[in-house]
Amino acid sequence: MPSTILEMRDITKTFPGVTALSNVNLHIEEGEIHAIVGENGAGKSTLMKVLSGVYPTGTYSGQIVYRGKECHFRTIKDSEHLGIVIIHQELALVPMLSIAENIFLGNEHAKRGVIDWNANETRARALLKKVGLSEDPRTLITNIGVGKQQLVEIAKALSKEVKLLILDEPTASLSERDSQALLDLLIEFKQQGITSILISHKLSEVSRVADHVTVLRDGHTIETLDKQQINEDRIITLMVGRSLSDRFPPRDPNVGEVVFEVKNWSVYHPLHADRQVIKGVDLNVRKGEVVGIAGLMGAGRTEFAMSLFGKSYGRRISGEVFLDGRKIDTSTVERAVDHGIAYATEDRKTYGLNLIDHIRSNVTIANLGGVSRRGVIDDLREIDVANDFRAKTNIRSSSVHQKTGNLSGGNQQKVVLSKWLFADPRVLILDEPTRGIDVGAKYEIYTIIAKLAAEGRAIIVISSEMPELLGVCDRIYVMNEGRMVGEMAGSDASQEKIMRAIVRGEGKAS
């Protein structure tokens, strides 16, 4: 029988007014990949913060036994010292420092405070090779993509002689391909004897790599399944506490005329003026249609959408946009919104919401004209509007005066949607609408999308989760390296077909 590396017994953690964890038990075996799944707010991240010492000993009750010894971590340093390293969902890298500097931040190879850069670089190269990242260690973090940043975080963990690696939603912002690479890396680590705890919403990943799955719900351990028992439907049932007969709401598409059309759209990189990011893209959407854009991370999907929406990305933008067959000008966000185009961002915290303000003002900010007269806001009408959308999109909060920063990811996403719905768009571009939110909230978002399409709006969904696109879209475009490399009806699309289009497109592009 394999030996136990970690046991957490009867962990209970309360915050004022809420019990986040109640008698949670977790049993991790040496050298396994152990997945923890649960809806947002189930207590996964809290449990990991207890384990890593973010919440110091004494602020929770229960025992942590690591390698046979009971541990009382006061700080993250204490747990890192024993080889427990956590990589948070929001990466903790300093953008303007190099890869090597980030890997050894706070841990530099130095003699009496003087850094030996050569030693650092050599070590960094070795670590980067281990995680399969071919970048110069002197490259600044800001110049590499999220997927590579994730790998830098892992290299950083390796530099700390990690024994137990905890990854909180590591693939949330990664493309399919980068996610696969990351999971392969975890399997490789397993062979080297590194134990991993994987927190994830993506059940396909979990069932692929995990040896055990522990399901949390509302701060309780529900069940731990072993490899033979892992089954997506069963996990979902355990997570939500009810059977989700279908992951996508039924739809009866009623597709009409072409509403929105983009022709020969080209965009250059904002910093590297000669790098073409979008290369002559054509796209159209019909009334009441949900169109997906599939592609790998870095394919240019977000760049395409943002450059369309008021030139919010890139330089030297060219191409034509048509609404109802008439050419329109979308060169500023305001003009795009006036024409009835809305773009709900993939990164709601950075680009979508004013986190320090309440739901009410976030909902109306893109259409203040709708609640004001001659520049004066009608308070009461605004509250009515906010309450209306809170009910319509099922935002869970104490009232519309709750700060959006205190909402869960799914509810924040509903506020972003509400904001754009209040602007009453005819064309709605949703960029990764369900990133980092739980199964229940995903279903709610899909329901909203279905309803919007039924109202006759044209909807574009950008997503890195192929099952999601297959589940909600009537038609799917495939994008790769700034080009449209495929287009297929939702009914005869499949993951294989999409992947094939990408792979073929890659050959063509070179």
Partner: protein, 430 residues
């Protein structure tokens, strides 16, 4: 700060079915936390009232206090918007000094004919202030130069121009009486005075200052009308909210709040009425406070400034023209700095090279004491005004007691730090 936040807390913390005294106490504590700043101001006033043996609230001193510190509050109104939008303006003291020098030179030295008229000169100077603000805002908004750097440059430039305009160390004056009325004038007594106790007359037949009790009736009428309007509009707003089915703060809280504010206003107007009446600059200030409260709370432009400060990128992607908005915010700051400069010059009766020197720090401190966030997106007019008064009362009170100027700075610094620490602590707890 807002009442809505308080009612949120209340609904969250009070379990359903809790009734009676405990509920009220919890609610009351929440409201007290909301009004912590007002309580701090009152506490500081009481301390100085005692330490100055009652001089602080004497009518003469109240007039002085208002006349000496109004420019800080006027500039704090502009600074609030600058700070909420996520910027800072270090140049306001220098701009005020420069405008003071400009207006004095226009009225006293340059033979400009009609343009030397105090009113015309003042209006031109406000426009110049706006241009200065716009020039600084242009670099900040359209060239993304950090506001700290642009306005630091402005601080040096306009202090230098101020001194150059005044020909080195000289001062320019005396300024016309019509102009000085902006700071040292009082509202004309249109109703008349009412003698309660006749002042003592000395051997020359002159009245001795500070004796007797003569009321300026116009001031009292303004005070009473103001209080009645305040109560009326408060009730009206409640009624409308009720009609729309929205939550209100508890009626008891509303009544207590209205009575306390009314009592303070009536007391102050009464004190003013026993001296020379309502200072002109107080009226200017009150109108501006009202205007900016309205702009920040009720208008789309105000809302957009908060959105921009809260999350610039999200605001841009919501269709807000953040560049233009930044330009407007700095232009507004320029106009208010100019008005501050006019008020300073009018009070001194001349333009001096050091006018407004260091006042940018008092202005910024007032806004931060008032609860604004250095990160942008948070801050209120009422808070900044109270912050300004806290600075003013401390300046005035410490001068009366005779605290050394050096130590006045130390005390002000400590109060600034203490206020912000308290605020941060309070927010983390709430």
């Amino acid at each position: 700060m807002s009442t809505e936040t308080a009612s949120d807390l209340q609904t969250e913390t009070a379990p359903a079915g809790t009734v009676g005294a405990r509920f009220d106490v919890a609610a009351l504590l929440n409201y007290l936390r909301d009004y912590g700043l007002v309580l701090a101001l009152i506490a500081i006033m009481i301390v100085f009232q005692l330490m100055t043996d009652g001089t602080l609230f004497k009518p003469v001193n109240l007039s002085n206090l208002v006349q000496q510190n109004s420019f800080i509050i006027v500039m704090a109104l502009g600074m609030l918007l600058v700070i909420v939008s996520g910027h800072i303006d270090l140049s306001v003291g220098s701009v005020a000094g420069f405008i003071g020098a400009l207006v004095a030179t226009m009225m006293v030295i340059w033979p400009l004919g009609v343009v030397s008229n105090p009113l015309v000169a003042s209006i031109i100077c406000l426009a110049v202030g706006g241009l200065i603000g716009a020039a600084q805002g242009y670099w900040i908004a359209y060239h993304r130069i950090p506001s700290f750097i642009v306005t630091l440059a402005g601080m040096l430039i306009f202090r230098g121009l101020c001194q150059a305009l005044l020909g080195g160390g000289a001062s320019v004056g005396p300024l016309p009486d019509d102009f000085k009325a902006l700071s040292s004038g009082f509202l004309p007594e249109v109703i008349g005075t009412y003698t309660v106790i006749a002042p003592t007359v000395n051997a020359n037949g002159r009245e001795i200052m500070g004796t007797g009790l003569v009321l300026h009736l116009a001031t009292i009428v303004i005070g009473i009308v103001g209080v009645l309007l305040f109560a009326y509009f408060g009730l009206l707003a409640r009624r409308t909210r009720e009609r729309f089915g929205h939550e209100n703060e508890p009626f008891a809280v509303f009544v207590v709040k209205t009575i306390v504010i009314s009592a303070i206003v009536l007391f102050l107007t009464f004190q003013f009425s026993t001296y020379k009446g309502m200072p002109v600059v107080l009226v200017v200030m009150a109108v501006l406070i009202g205007l900016f409260t309205f702009v920040t709370k009720r208008t789309t432009i105000g809302r957009r400034v908060y959105a921009m400060g809260g999350n610039l990128k999200a605001a841009q992607l919501s269709g807000i023209k953040t560049d233009r908005l930044t330009l407007i915010v700095f232009t507004n700051m320029g106009v208010l700095s100019a008005l501050g400069g006019l008020i300073i010059a009018a009070r001194l009766g001349q333009a001096v090279p050091a006018a407004g020197l260091g006042s940018e720090l008092d202005v910024i401190a007032a806004v931060f004491i008032g609860g604004a966030s250095a990160m942008g997106g948070v801050g209120q007019v009422a808070g900044s005004v109270i912050g300004g008064f806290i600075m003013g009362v401390m300046n005035n009170g410490m001068s009366i007691i005779g605290v050394n100027v050096d130590y006045q700075q130390v005390v002000k610094g400590l109060v600034l730090l203490g206020a912000v620490v308290f605020d941060v602590y309070n927010k983390n707890k709430g």
